[in-house]
């Protein structure tokens, strides 16, 4: 029997089963639903970002009306500057942490640390249940498909009695086995590629390097599961044993291990720095009211020497002093803020290391990275808000120290914020290598065991 006929027969045999068609239909439906849900969430975020400039204009107009005739400094106490984290083109592919993290923070000229961590109005129950997006279908559901298609590759023949017939063929059964595994890998991969391509087309994600990387990642991830399946099959046990063992591996990798880790991370790296920041920025600012103005100003002049020559009388309220006090709130919480960022980095590093041995976590985190919906992307957004805030400080402090009136400044020409990160380059990394190595290890183990057991 030559390869071509064998392939034809095998394909016919595989595709003839009614259940196979049902399974394909189900996975198609799952992808369609995932595109709908992921797309809806990303679209909502896009809308928010798109509305932001108009909301800023409306807000500024309203404030100008309500606070007309005031000093600029007084006005700026109320006026908010809008920022937005525009979702990347890939956000609908993997919602990641984007539904948890704030994406439209507003800041006034006051202490930044008291405002930058404000959160979104969100329903915690939605976040608890998680999202049904394309990355979920790939990371959670496709492995089940792989298990379903491969677990009985040898045992079914053994149980139906065709095994001895197969063994009497001149071609070695090992070869046939790997051929069948390979064929199934091709079928599942092709299905995934077609569905992902269609999904991406509907989501409107950019067909750039990220698309190729997502496909590559998916295939390596599938290779891992095929490897695990081959390894389990190589024990030569029955269908039920194989099915249950593989389901056990799936539960461990998809549910138990990540859940355990996530709880361990929360206990090992408690982020109490966040609470500390909240307290110190508030104290740092408020205690200045009860202290001599000169001390506050001295600290302030270290950063802004250009305002040194403007007198700040000790016995009178001045707006220059007021905003200087506000900024000292930031100075004094800077240390806690730094440790906060450090703690988040530690968490991130720890997770990434563990992801080396947990392909599920590894793949999910990489999808989040592609989609720029990970923690890092959010921190970059916060960084952009920090820069923006320092820009508005630089823009308005000179006017405040000059006791400008609101009418002296055109608020409609205020600095504007925009932020969008598209993670197009630097995708190849150690995480993918780890996944590749792990896949290779399991495939080889399966290979070696099969040879040894001489199946």
């Amino acid at each position: 029997m030559n390869l071509k006929t064998f392939t034809r027969l095998e394909l016919k045999n595989f595709l003839n089963g009614r259940s196979v068609l049902v399974v394909f239909l189900c996975i198609g439906l799952a992808v369609a639903y995932a595109v709908y849900q992921g797309g809806s969430l990303a679209e909502k975020q896009s809308e928010i970002a798109a509305q932001t400039p108009q909301m800023q204009v409306d807000h500024t107009d309203r404030m100008l009306e309500v606070h007309a005739g005031k000093e600029l400094a007084d006005f700026l106490y109320y006026h908010k500057f809008y920022t937005a984290h525009e979702p990347s083109d890939w956000a609908g592919f993997s919602v990641g942490q984007s539904d948890v993290n704030a994406n439209n923070i507003k800041v006034t000229l006051l202490t930044l640390e008291g405002q930058i961590y404000n959160s979104e109005l969100s329903n915690p129950t939605n976040q608890l249940f998680g999202n049904f997006d394309l990355s979920f279908v790939i990371v959670f559901l496709f492995p089940l498909l792989i298990i379903a298609f491969t677990h009985n590759l040898i045992s079914a023949e053994q149980e139906s009695g065709t095994w001895s017939l197969l063994r009497s063929q001149p071609t070695s059964v090992r070869k046939i086995f790997w051929f069948r595994i390979g064929l199934r890998f091709l079928i599942v991969s092709l299905t995934a590629i077609v569905l992902i391509t269609l999904g991406c087309a509907f989501l409107g994600t950019a067909f750039d390097g990220r698309f190729l990387y997502a496909i590559l990642l998916t295939l390596v991830y599938f290779a891992f599961w095929f490897g695990v399946s081959a390894f389990v099959i190589s024990f030569g046990k029955g269908t039920t044993f194989n099915a249950l063992s593989l389901l056990g591996v799936w539960i461990f990798l998809v549910i138990l291990a990540p859940a355990l880790l996530s709880s361990v991370v929360a206990t090992t790296f408690p982020v109490s720095e966040s609470l500390e920041t909240t307290i110190t920025q508030r104290e740092g600012y408020h205690e200045k009211w009860d202290k001599p103005k000169a001390a506050t100003m001295e600290r302030f002049y270290k950063k802004y020497p250009q305002f040194k020559d403007i007198p700040i009388p000790e016995d009178k309220f001045t707006w220059g002093w007021y905003y200087a006090m506000q900024e000292t709130g930031d100075f004094e919480s800077a240390d806690a803020t730094e440790r906060y960022a450090e703690k988040l980095k530690q968490r991130q590093n720890f997770t990434e290391k563990v992801a080396w041995v947990l392909p599920t976590v590894n793949t999910q985190l990489q999808f989040n990275e592609i989609a720029s919906t990970n923690l890092e992307s959010h921190l970059e957004y916060l960084e952009s808000v920090r820069e923006f805030h320092s820009k508005i400080r630089q823009t308005y402090y000179p006017h405040i120290f000059k006791n400008a009136k609101l009418t002296d400044v055109d608020m409609k020409k205020a600095p504007q914020h925009s932020f969008k990160n598209e993670n197009e380059s630097n995708l190849l990394n150690g995480q993918l290598l780890a996944l590749t190595i792990l896949s290779f290890v399991f495939i080889s183990l399966g290979f070696v065991r099969m040879n040894r057991k001489n199946i």
Binding site: A30, Q37, Q51, D58, H59, R62, V66, Q97, V100, N104, K106, G114, N118, S119, L121, N123, P124, T125, N126, Q127, L128, F129, N131, F132, F136, F140, L144, T240, F241, A243, L244, I251, I255, P258, A259, L260, L261, S262, S263, V265, A266, T267, P270, V271, S272, S274, L275, T278, R282, H286, L344, R347, Q348, T351, E352, T360, V361, Q364, N368, N374
Partner: protein, 476 residues
């Protein structure tokens, strides 16, 4: 139904099941996972509570130790509360990790509750958290399915079924016998673990377990017992339906994947797409619009307060606010705070209503999926559900309103209008303020919120019971 027959089937099944090595191994793994979950859940709860108490105390100390200050300054200094976790959150953490942990309370505005655990997560959290509830909800049913898939098909394949039926044993007796054996096996496995868990809990909490917590735990036993009975019945019925064990196993696994993995994610967020809520910016804009119609509380001369001014002047029969027997600026602060608090509550109430409607979606889905019903019932009983989160939010707002209005009243009564800003209250007043006590949703209220889930669970139990009672498979 002849109970001696049922008993015989049960004792026979007990002997059989433990012969299976896979079952013993699974049970071992599950017990280990449960203990790990208990330990990890407890650690998480403890770590959080220790930190929280430390920072809460620090905020309270700083408040009391404030120097002499003007009341309105203190209204802006404000207060920070850190959200306490429910005592049973170590068992079922519910939405705890997705709810904010600290809220800054100040005059004029309501801030968001910030720093949820989820915001500090690199994304791992979305796979779920290891809690005893998670093991009981997701994995124990799977074990039940493994115990049950051969219940009838096994007898069929061995050819013992006709033998059994010819011995005057009815289908009803077989189905109930098999179901009861699975239930008793699961209970005998889990009860010792539960007892050890309870003992640990008792020791770790230094014997300080409230009556409320205790009743909640008892109710949880009931809920999970019911849930396991439903799962056992379903697995036996599926086994009775199929000719081969393989088919029944496959069906049960598909049911598990569909009901336990896919449906929860698919359903809950569909609710979020259908019942839209405003973004934080829109929400703030709506409040801002309403408030700007009412006047600026920092500006007592705002023309929008003219009506109030007129009324007040008339009431005290004076022609200028300077002649009033109290501080008019403080009075405007007091009145404006009441107005803005009402506006906020109205808008926030509307958003929470939408959230509740979103959650209703999954609650209704509980009628077709008992896993969802039990999951929500468990969260509610543990005091870590949405209602508890909402309850905290309102209490925080109430507390904010209480201390801000107390400060405003001090402003009105103790601060003279002349030289307003330069006056200060004596620092001993700060210790006369109430502290924040979080009052959890009462047990009865929690259950009332989840009445739909209670009904769904009971309906399922009824359906399974009816199935076992009436089903007589054609295949022998």
């Amino acid at each position: 139904m002849n109970f001696t027959n049922v008993k015989k089937i049960i004792s026979h099944e007990w002997k059989n099941i433990f012969r299976n090595r896979i079952v013993s191994a699974t049970v071992g793994i599950l017990a280990f996972a449960l203990f790990t979950a208990l330990f990890v859940g407890w650690q998480n709860y403890q770590t959080y509570e220790v930190e929280r108490e430390k920072y809460q105390q620090s905020v309270a100390d700083k408040w009391v130790n404030q120097p002499d200050r003007h009341p309105h300054r203190v209204a802006h200094y404000g207060y920070i509360i850190f959200r306490p976790k429910s005592a049973l959150s170590f068992f079922d953490s519910g939405v705890e990790s997705f709810a904010g942990n600290s809220i800054f309370l100040e005059a004029h505005k309501q801030n968001s509750t910030n720093f949820s655990e989820a915001r500090h997560s690199s994304g791992l959290l979305r796979f779920g958290e290891l809690t005893p509830a998670m093991i009981l909800q997701l994995l124990v049913p799977l074990l039940i399915f493994f115990l049950g898939f051969t219940a009838i098909t096994g007898e069929r394949e061995n050819g013992t079924l006709p033998l059994l039926l010819s011995q005057n044993v009815s289908w009803r007796e077989i189905l109930f016998g098999k179901t009861l054996s699975i239930i008793t096996i699961i209970f005998s496995l889990l009860l010792p673990i539960a007892v050890v868990g309870l003992l640990f809990w008792f020791v770790l909490s230094n014997g300080q377990i409230s009556f409320d917590s205790f009743t909640r735990i008892l109710f949880l036993f009931l809920v999970y017992g019911l849930f396991f009975a439903i799962c056992a019945g379903v697995s036996v019925l599926v086994s009775a339906f199929y000719k081969s064990s393989r088919s029944s196993l496959l069906t049960l696994i598909v049911i598990w994947i569909l009901f336990f993995i896919i449906m929860p994610r698919a359903v809950q967020n569909l609710g979020a797409i259908i019942y839209e809520t405003p973004s934080q910016s829109e929400f703030e804009k709506n409040i801002e619009k309403d408030i700007s119609k009412e006047g600026d509380s920092h500006n007592a001369n705002d023309p929008k307060f003219a009506e109030i001014r007129k009324e007040t002047l008339k009431k005290y029969n004076v022609s200028d606010v300077k002649d009033l027997p109290f501080n008019y600026r403080g009075y405007i602060s007091l009145v404006a705070e009441e107005i803005s608090s009402k506006i906020f509550s109205k808008h926030y109430g509307e958003v929470l209503e939408q959230f509740r409607l979103q959650n209703r979606f999954a609650e209704f889905a509980g009628i077709i999926n008992p896993y969802l019903a039990v999951r929500q019932l468990s969260m509610a009983t543990a005091g870590s559900d949405f209602a508890s989160y909402e309850n905290f939010q309102w209490q925080a707002e109430e507390y904010r309103f209480e201390i801000i209005q107390k400060l405003n009243k001090l402003y009105v009564e103790e601060i003279k209008a002349e030289n307003d800003r330069d006056q200060k209250l004596d620092s001993k007043i700060w210790s006369e303020f109430p502290t924040f006590e979080n009052k959890p949703v009462s047990f009865g209220e929690s259950i009332k919120n989840q009445i739909l889930s209670v009904i769904a669970s009971l309906v399922w139990l009824g359906l399974v019971f009816a199935g076992l009672w009436f089903y007589e498979p054609e295949n022998v």
